[in-house]
């Protein structure tokens, strides 16, 4: 079935204003009678909840954290893009739109990407008005820097804590609405199902993680802003509790999943130092401006870095991509590193990393200059590894970082379930097959501050006459029963292995076979392996304690149960796409010198997967991508 993304008619630069001008409104008296549930209180969730509450809707907002300020948006360091053209360097909406579309390897929707660029300038205004202390120049005006993949300076930043500061802005706006009693905040509540009545989203089932109580909540619309699920790879730059459960439960209720296998793997994370490590730390990509990446020319070389002579080092990025060298785009740099590591050239005690070497930069520029640029990063590196990077090269390795895939949404950010919206990293939109650095904070904010506050009311205008949702409806009872049953099933297994044991194995399978590079053979194997793993999960899982108390092992098990299903869909998705594009690299589809081969004639579509019932293969729906305003070109970084 072909999907209708509901893109407004007209010229690219008029679509959003046209939509806004014609969207339906709800009068203030009626807004008070309408309830909205927001799941997630990261940048996307907090901003949407606060903005809709300001309009007068009654909001119930849920998150699994103990306060919204801890959502993983907090960890974004680098910055947020906006085309303010403060540098007078030729930036404008069209250019930003083009950079984003091209960065995504022409696998995103033109109209959405254009809107993202169009709303970007206003986001900076909004954040500054909230008190976000962005970096400034001595004259008092806002400072910018340039970030990967573009030729202009459009990145705004607040030291290395841009995500934290933006999130605090949104969190404070949300707290203001809590105080005004427009928002009811439920922290430490995890959503476990969406409830549909007459085909529309009308509520959720949540678990109070402090007491284990299962609760029903009804509303006239439900917004999911639950973030990315890159933690499915187990080792990733995401926080420990990031998960895919909310969107997966929605999928099983009829929302389609868009391009679930597209994951950005970041090249400059710190390698795993031991089997018990569960989280990888991201090092800023800016290090690649002065660091040179290399591995020994000999496989399994056990010498220390400094004792390997210059002639025996392989600066493989400089060798393969002379034009971009160490600054090759994320996907290319990550793939090249994994290729070397897998071929036996990896460095470090477990040969799982490559070197990022500053000796040349230090010799040329001096320690003082390097310290001025990267001092805090060198300190952080030493804190974590105990190694002084002025004396020996850093060790880095690729790690899962960002989900381009997620719930399929139309131009209004509504999923295929009427009344169910998906915002931020939880949806698939805007980034195509590869997202550009500093564009995702932007997307989470634009979705929450500017898009949902217009499109959700447009939907609610049709719900004014709908009665208050009755949580005693049969649909709630069934959904609650299913959730309880699932919890009881997991607790009753009483096997021998904790949830992490399965999660680690799943992560390994996906990282090797559905990560940086994929092949039909590998993906088929992965699907079989995941099925076996899932079977053993239901035989051998162990969870101490009960469901009626704080129980982190139960929380983990519930998430891993979903991951074991999402992983399979990711492989199915990757297997279907017989082309290479952006982060999706299929080994069979490359040029003789190893470059990605995109196939616009057959694959210029979004894969939107539909659940067809337990044990049945998912159904593929296609949203064909039409390029009306730009001509797709080949990405070339040689």
């Amino acid at each position: 079935m072909a999907l209708d993304p509901k893109i407004p008619q007209g010229e690219l630069d008029k679509k959003w204003s046209h939509y806004k001008a014609t969207a339906k409104l709800v009068n203030p008296a009626n807004r008070r009678k309408l309830d909205i549930i927001v799941i997630g209180a990261g940048l996307a969730g907090s901003s949407a909840a606060a903005s809709l509450a300001e309009q007068g809707y009654h909001i119930k907002c849920f998150c699994f954290h103990d306060t919204p300020r801890r959502a993983h948006s907090v960890a974004a360091q680098g910055g947020v893009n906006a085309c303010k053209n403060y540098h007078n360097d030729g930036d404008n909406i069209f250019r930003m739109f083009y950079d984003t579309l091209k960065g995504g390897d022409f696998r995103a929707r033109e109209a959405n990407v254009y809107r993202l660029a169009e709303c970007s300038a206003n986001l900076i205004d909004q954040a500054v008005a909230q008190g976000v202390p962005f970096a400034r120049e001595y004259g008092g005006y806002l400072a910018n820097r340039s970030f990967g993949g573009v030729q202009v300076s459009r990145t705004f930043y607040a030291r290395g804590q841009t995500g934290q500061q933006l999130l605090l802005g949104a969190y404070q706006a949300l707290m203001r609405q809590v105080a005004a009693e427009q928002v009811q905040m439920f922290t430490r509540h995890e959503m476990l199902d969406v409830v549909l009545i007459d085909g529309k989203a009308k509520g959720v089932i949540v678990r109070n993680m402090d007491t284990g109580e299962i609760e029903r909540h009804g509303a006239h619309a439900v917004i999911l802003a639950t973030g990315g699920f890159g933690k499915i790879y187990y080792l990733s730059t995401l926080a420990m509790a990031c998960n895919g459960s909310a969107i997966w439960r929605a999928y099983k209720k009829g929302a389609y999943m868009g391009n679930p296998s597209w994951t950005q793997i970041h090249p400059t994370s710190l390698p795993q130092s031991g089997e018990n490590q569960s989280k990888l730390t991201l090092m800023s990509e800016s290090l690649r401006n002065d660091g040179r990446i290399w591995v020994p020319k000999a496989a399994n070389d056990n010498r220390t870095a400094n004792s390997i002579p210059e002639g025996e080092r392989d600066y493989y990025l400089e060798r393969k991509y002379p034009a971009f060298g160490n600054l090759a785009p994320r996907d290319i740099a990550s793939r090249a590193a994994k290729e070397r590591i897998d071929a036996g050239y990896g460095v470090g005690p477990t040969h799982n990393a490559v070197y990022l070497d500053f000796s040349k930069a230090l010799a040329e520029q001096g320690e003082k200059k390097i310290t001025a640029k990267y001092g805090n990063l060198f300190r952080m590196y030493e804190k974590i590894t105990g190694i002084n990077a002025y004396k020996e090269p850093m060790r880095i390795s690729p790690a899962a970082h960002f989900s381009m895939g997620g719930l399929w949404v139309d131009y209004e950010l509504m999923t295929t379930i009427p009344g169910l919206f998906a915002l931020g990293e939880a949806n698939f939109a805007d980034h195509g097959a590869n997202r550009l650095g500093a564009n995702s904070l932007l997307q989470a904010c634009v979705d929450g501050y500017f898009v949902a506050p217009i499109t959700v009311p447009n939907y609610l205008a049709g719900e004014i006459r709908a009665a208050k949702v009755d949580i005693n409806d049969e649909a709630f009872a069934i959904a609650e029963k299913n959730v309880r049953q699932q919890i009881d099933t997991l607790l009753a297994i009483k096997g021998t292995q904790p949830a992490d044991h399965f999660h680690k194995q799943l992560g390994r399978i996906l990282y090797d076979k559905c990560g940086l590079s994929r092949s039909a053979e590998g993906l088929q194997q992965a699907i079989a392996e995941i099925r076996d793993l899932r079977a053993s999960f239901y035989i051998d899982l162990t969870i101490p304690g009960t469901g009626n108390e704080i129980n982190s092992e139960l929380e983990k098990a519930l998430r891993v149960a979903d991951y074991l299903e999402i992983g399979e869909l990711m492989c199915i998705d990757a297997l279907n796409r017989n082309e290479s594009c952006g982060a999706h690299f299929r080994e069979e589809y490359q040029t003789p010198d190893g470059e990605a081969m995109r196939d616009d004639a057959h694959y210029a579509y979004v894969s939107a997967w539909q659940y067809d019932g337990p044990g049945l293969p998912p159904i593929l729906n296609k949203e064909n991508l039409h390029f009306e305003f730009v001509q797709p070109t080949v990405r070339n970084y040689k």
């Binding site: 901003s47 960890a75 909230q130 202390p133 934290q164 404070q172 706006a173 031991g274 989280k279 304690g545």
Partner: protein, 248 residues
């Protein structure tokens, strides 16, 4: 290396708690402190015992979720370091490590090392924001902010809300947390119009939530992972007194 742990176990808010002994072998120096606790929990889970509940999420020192007292110090022996950023190389083979929750009457213990810090949200709700609705903002560069002011505001805004300041304070005062937000917003032109109302409300709420008064021991600054300065407390007091005078 081998470490001996004495960990606070408490089933629920109203249960009695006690220190329980555990020992772990094969702990490597590269391990983070929380990896070490994960290892313990893995062992307990496999034995069918309840694992130790502790708070954590980002594991990179920014979300503020982690935080325990380690040998009597908030976030452990290193300065300006959260619990999740601490590594086992800070300990020696054979060390005994006491691990306890952040204790304060306003931070009730939920279970084991997990505490309830929602009182911080209450403080922010009472005024830790700038009243601005989406759509009202003028062009960002219309109001220049001096470089130094923006930097100072950032220093205060960097607080991660972990609660170490409260846990180390003998009065369980939330002065540093509250003052950091008051300074951050009062310094900015956008935030100064409601600074009077803000400081009065936030200080009141701090008292209502049962936090103690500041007696200038400066223990909070010493243990703060973000190096938030106690000078902000002085500014809060100044703003508070100014607001009181102007109110009359």
């Amino acid at each position: 290396m081998q470490v001996f742990l004495k960990i606070w176990r408490q089933a629920g808010p109203s249960d009695a708690g006690k220190l329980v002994d555990y020992s772990l072998d094969n702990i490597s120096e590269e391990m983070s402190f929380l990896d070490m606790l994960d290892t313990l929990n893995d062992m307990l889970t496999r034995k069918g015992e309840m694992p130790v509940e502790f708070d954590h999420d980002c594991r990179e020192g920014i979300c503020g979720q982690c935080g325990v007292m380690i040998n009597g110090r908030a976030h452990g022996p290193l300065k300006n370091t959260t619990t999740c950023q601490l590594h086992m190389r800070s300990f020696k083979n054979g060390d005994t490590i006491y691990i306890e929750p952040f204790r304060a009457s306003s931070f009730p213990i939920k279970r084991d090392l997990k505490v309830d810090r929602s009182a911080f949200d209450k403080i922010i709700q009472s005024g830790g924001f700038i009243t601005e609705r989406t759509g009202q903002a003028p062009e960002a560069n219309d109001i220049p902010i001096p470089f130094e002011t923006a930097e100072e505001a950032f220093d205060a805004a960097a607080c991660i809300g972990c609660g170490a300041c409260v846990a180390v304070c003998k009065n369980s005062s939330a002065a540093l947390f509250t003052a950091a937000k008051i300074t951050h917003l009062a310094l900015l032109p956008q935030g100064k119009y409601e600074s009077q109302k803000r400081v009065l409300n936030m200080v009141n709420t701090m008292d209502e939530q049962g936090f103690g008064h500041c007696s200038n021991t400066e223990a909070c600054e010493a243990e703060c992972p973000q190096q938030i300065s106690v000078l902000h407390i002085a500014r809060m007091n100044y703003e508070f007194n100014k607001a009181l005078v102007l109110k009359k």
